[in-house]
Amino acid sequence: MSFINYSSREINCKIVYYGPGLGGKTTNLQYIYDKMSPDTKGKLISLATETERTLFFDFLPLALGDIRGFKTRFQLYTVPGQVFYDASRKLILRGVDGVVFVADSQIERMDANIESLENLKLNLKENGYDFEKIPFVMQYNKRDLPNAAELQEMKTILNPKTSPDFEGVATKGIAVFETLKAIAKLVLVEMKRSTAVR
């Protein structure tokens, strides 16, 4: 649910990073925060437990540049991945324009990935969205680990609708910006489409 301000000539969009606990959502935002120049980013806010697990959300506002004289601003959020924080996840999805799913490639986390993806579909539905239609990008994270599952297997299980997908190592920044660009693009294209139809 974007916000277009014709007076200040700004477009605001909300992107949510979703996925199982410890998958690397917060790490994605931290890397983006570290690499963006100060004039394009705001503060990174992390509401986390003492052990650095996301408790409510992380939030990072970015200014990406102009389109047709409008400043485009993206607000990145992560959800808490741990299963019992479901009420918070549902709240954070409100008003979302695009979703990045950060999957944990470790073979023993495959069930957690599947469960989290199902949970995303349900929570989108409860917020009035359709998973089939929302801009969506998949990131297979932690590709550096020896116990990573076969890529093809992950694709088949987690990305049957073949959304744009990337093999990432968030701690090293691999595919972090590719993922962000891909979702930002999808969101803008969807905004264009939805205004054209009306």
Partner: protein, 161 residues
């Protein structure tokens, strides 16, 4: 998928800013700001220079969302007013017309009673503006949207480093 749900035009934006300015003065507040329920800052007025209004907006919306969740759990619709008292500064948060969140930050130069009183009046004024805005958005042809003419190239250009 739902299209852009919040659209702001110059006319209403100016009206909103005037209302916020008035509230800041009449309530002796330090800062007044307006946020949509998803955490987007709509406008801010007052001593905003040394304060991160974007973060404030996002956390306010998170706060309202969380207390809204609590309300539901105990069978309430929502808590329409929140008040946080600090040593020097206090925050008064209220939901206006179930749409937007009005935040007033004030110190000893004002009082909770005064802020409450002024916020109530401001709420009615803001409600009137937003109702008008919504009608206008429904009527206005989308031709004015910056997106109707956007090209793939425009989008591509955003990401050139």
């Amino acid at each position: 998928m739902a299209g852009p749900s919040l659209i702001m035009y110059e006319e209403e934006f100016n009206q909103i800013n005037k209302v916020l300015e008035k509230l800041t003065k009449e309530a002796n507040a330090k800062i007044v700001f307006l946020v949509d329920k998803n955490g987007q800052l709509i406008s801010a007025y007052g001593e905003t220079k040394n304060i991160d209004t974007t973060s404030l907006a996002s956390l306010t919306a998170g706060n309202i969302a969380a207390t809204g969740g609590l309300a539901k759990l105990i069978g309430e619709k929502e808590f329409s007013i929140l008040f946080h008292e600090g040593e020097k500064d206090n925050i008064h948060i209220s939901i206006i017309g179930q749409r937007v969140i009005l935040v007033v930050i004030f110190d000893h130069r004002s009082s909770l009673g005064l802020v409450r009183l002024r916020v109530k009046k401001t709420g009615d004024e803001l409600n009137a503006i937003f109702s008008k805005l919504i009608k206008k958005v429904e009527k206005e042809p989308q031709a004015a949207s910056p997106f109707s003419e956007i090209t793939d190239e425009d989008i591509e250009n955003l990401f050139k480093d």
